[in-house]
Symmetry: D2
Subunit: 295 residues, 4 copies
């Protein structure tokens, strides 16, 4: 079972609107087999996107299906297709909130955007816990009714303890996604591996330009005319994980490094929120070092 399978958290009861993803080696007949299984299950395909990767020879499909069925009934029809094509697949209820753990430090703009949109119904996530290495955002989390814990990270020992708390929280709350919402510590390679494909970070520059620390200072020194933000999966290679979404905004010579920070925060929030929203809707699939985004 690959990383996609781990995403699946089908509710037990019957539902009517389903989202299905399937990834396998590309060969003729997949769509026909899949649509046949869905017809047999009484389903109607309302949305479908597919992609055949020339880089990896993989086939990717995401479908939304209306079907009055239990997940067991659907799975019984889909399982033989998945076996025949040796495919990884997931099925979920459309709109089910994704269990999301958020890590933060001091800057609140990304957390604020995530929680505001969750409350207003634009972002289908459930946040059982916010973990910070500072206390600054306790009030913001509290306002939105989300539990908050702070554990200082000031030494290898406290860093290890923080990461153990992350792992425990993931298990305790059955967390499906970890979001680094301007969490300013680097995750250990072990934690990156353990949560591979399930951690999204927002980097405050337009990658691959300006990796590492202080990207806005670098951007100012280089005199760029656009600054940006990049939401990407976290891997042990810092700032090298697969890119999910990027945005830029125009700046000019008059902007100090400090003003670039303020200007860039908008792009950071919107870029991260959009990446999280797509992930929660199973629109983000991995193709080697690249992502397939079925918008």
């Amino acid at each position: 079972m690959g990383p996609l399978a781990r995403l699946t958290r089908v509710t037990d009861g019957p539902a009517t609107h389903w989202v299905l993803t399937l990834v396998c080696a590309d060969r003729p007949g997949i769509v026909h087999a899949l649509s046949g299984a869905l017809v047999d299950a009484g389903g109607n395909i309302t949305e479908s996107q597919q992609f055949s990767s020339e880089d990896t020879g993989r086939f990717f499909i995401r479908m939304q299906v209306e079907a009055a069925a239990t997940p067991q009934q659907l799975a019984a029809h889909l399982h033989p297709v998945a076996q025949r094509f040796d495919a990884e697949w997931t099925i979920d209820v459309v709109g089910r909130p994704l269990k999301t753990l958020v890590l933060v430090s001091k800057a609140g703009h990304c957390l604020n955007d995530l929680l505001f949109r969750r409350r207003s119904g634009q972002l289908s996530i459930e946040v059982p816990l916010v973990l910070g290495n500072h206390r600054d955002l306790a009030g913001l989390a509290g306002f939105y009714g989300v539990p908050f814990e702070a554990h200082a990270v000031t030494s290898p020992q406290t860093k290890a303890a923080f990461e153990q708390r992350v792992v425990a929280a993931v298990e305790e709350h059955d967390v499906e996604l970890v979001v680094l919402a301007r969490y300013m510590q680097i995750l250990s390679p072990e934690l990156c591996e353990r949560l591979a494909g399930r951690v999204i970070n927002i980097h405050h520059s337009f990658l691959p330009g300006f990796k590492g620390a202080n990207p806005y200072r670098q951007a100012h020194a280089r005199g760029v005319k656009l600054i940006g933000a990049t939401a990407h999966f976290v891997t042990p290679d810092l700032d090298e994980g697969p890119i999910i979404e990027q945005n830029v905004v125009r700046v000019d010579h008059a902007a100090s490094a400090g003003e670039l920070v303020a200007t860039g925060q908008d792009e950071e929030s919107r870029t991260l929120t959009r990446a999280v929203g797509w992930y929660a809707q199973h629109r983000v699939l991995l193709d080697g070092r690249r992502t397939i985004i079925f918008r």
Copy 2:
């Protein structure tokens, strides 16, 4: 046979890469039936996009298929599916240049963009003729090796004669698309009806704002902060036809109406060229007053 069918111009010989569109009332089983027919014809679906319109209850699909077959062989498999779902459908060879008649007046930026991209291989059209109501762009057409004719439009009689020449050219060259590349005359309702769904215009504003003449002067007077361009199908209702593509660009208080004209020309060219390119690839389908764009 509906408007879509008129688009089809299948080459007679065998090909290997096909583009298929199909539109019908939405109901379960269409994708399965279609993909089954393609499997039977030895085809592999390499690209697929679909949409179910809540406004009209119509189902739209565009597929690219690899199949070593003649068009007759493919059609023999697809015809029963189209009949069963009472669908309009087209099949074409991927990348076949669309026969395109271009109408112009004096401004050359849109014609230049279309012809430059056609030559550089980015735009899959074939231009058998450019018709102008002024002679100004004869040299530009000539440089790109495209026949050019000018017929002045200065009275109801000359206007009628111009439109008769359009109709004759459409028939003579088997024209599939007519592009108004800043052609500054209004087409008669009769011609609009006759060529319905086959004429694309570029309007030099962000519709529905600033319809009619002198949109840049209107934009300056209103003090807008963005100006734009709109590519749309031509209908007898001036500037009210279905929108295909729109773009905007930022302007500020210092821009005179004349400077807005210069700034807007970039958006006009790119917007029109993009719309024509999508149309040539069968990516533009009509859903009542709206367009479906399978990008």
Copy 3:
């Protein structure tokens, strides 16, 4: 004294960084006279933007000046220049928070953005009061420590009472700007006149397209490919006041009217916040029906 003069709220004590605006009929010598007065006052011009309007023949300038002086000292030097050119002018301390009254209804995205940025130091406003015609946003205001009052508007009488409360609050708190942050009632012509040049509204479309109610439903029906938001001054002519800022975002055929609403909210918040920020920094000047924006 014109509308600009009313904006001025110079602190009494000395400061070192000043912002100056001056508007008058355009003629030679203004910059020289102004810079001479500033040199005499011991000032150094650190930022300067000017514009001569061909439409109205007016000259506009905004300067930032470093000078260790009291406002009285600066005014003593500037007054003769203003008199000589018959100019309206203002002087203020750079970064002084603008006293801003916010009116809201039920939707919180604009209020959230304004208050979040005020707290994080990106938006130089002070909010003595939020007035709603519904209670929904009391909690949000409370979290940011801002007083909130709700007064239902359900009849001509309650509407008049609400507006009287607005007028009273403006006087009581010495309010310099009133922001309609998705306040869904139309202000009376009398109130518009009374607060002319001091009320900013966010309209949820790209004006001048889709004026009036339900712009997203209109946008969906018309099948536009970009939707937008417009921040403008409020005048008695609904949605016709001078435009301050506009933004758009791309949408496609798959977006329902409801999804357009969600998508558009981002543009609404950022557009309104940006307009308010520019106004607070004296970067927005009126030139007839148009605005001069010194960004």
Copy 4:
């Protein structure tokens, strides 16, 4: 005399609309002294932009001035101010076409854009010669009536000969700007030094990401979601010269490296043309490794 002075090519006869740039160490009184000199010369400032660089302590100003004067008369008034502040300055007639040498290889999109806009009056340049290391674009240059020469660059000897031809052409035609319009050879350090501040290149990526060869292939491999183009001054450090303008465009996972090339060409042309246009209007000033752009 610094690099700015070399730009000045004042016509000998009188004119009425002038553009002035001045750069010096920042200190109080510059604007006053400059505006005083202009008032004395009978001038009226119609446009003015200034900037004080915190990085370098330099002051930059660009003014447009209406004055019925000869350049000698203006210079006589301005010279004492420039001396007093130890400033580099230029004065030119607004709209005078800049003498521009264009270097090309095989790809014509940038040359096409430059020449089309020059002809349509949107770009104030004069092109005495296009030099290519291939013959492919001879026809395009010819259509626009511009002399074209090709000299193959296939060895150190032919490269040196090509560069000698560049130097000779610069002297022969009094060239003020050299534009590398997708010229695919690296200039020698000696030529870069010799023409410092007068050579603009278009790099087909969003610098500082993807320096060097094949940026679109790199961009595809990295899976970026936006691709871009960067116009910059050429220095001996490849792709490290001061940035003048940048633009990006959205791409998705389905775009092959080849499709990225086609998509990126639009951004290349518009970015280069914009940079050249600003330079021709004396809107681009150098501040160390950064550029000041007075748009």
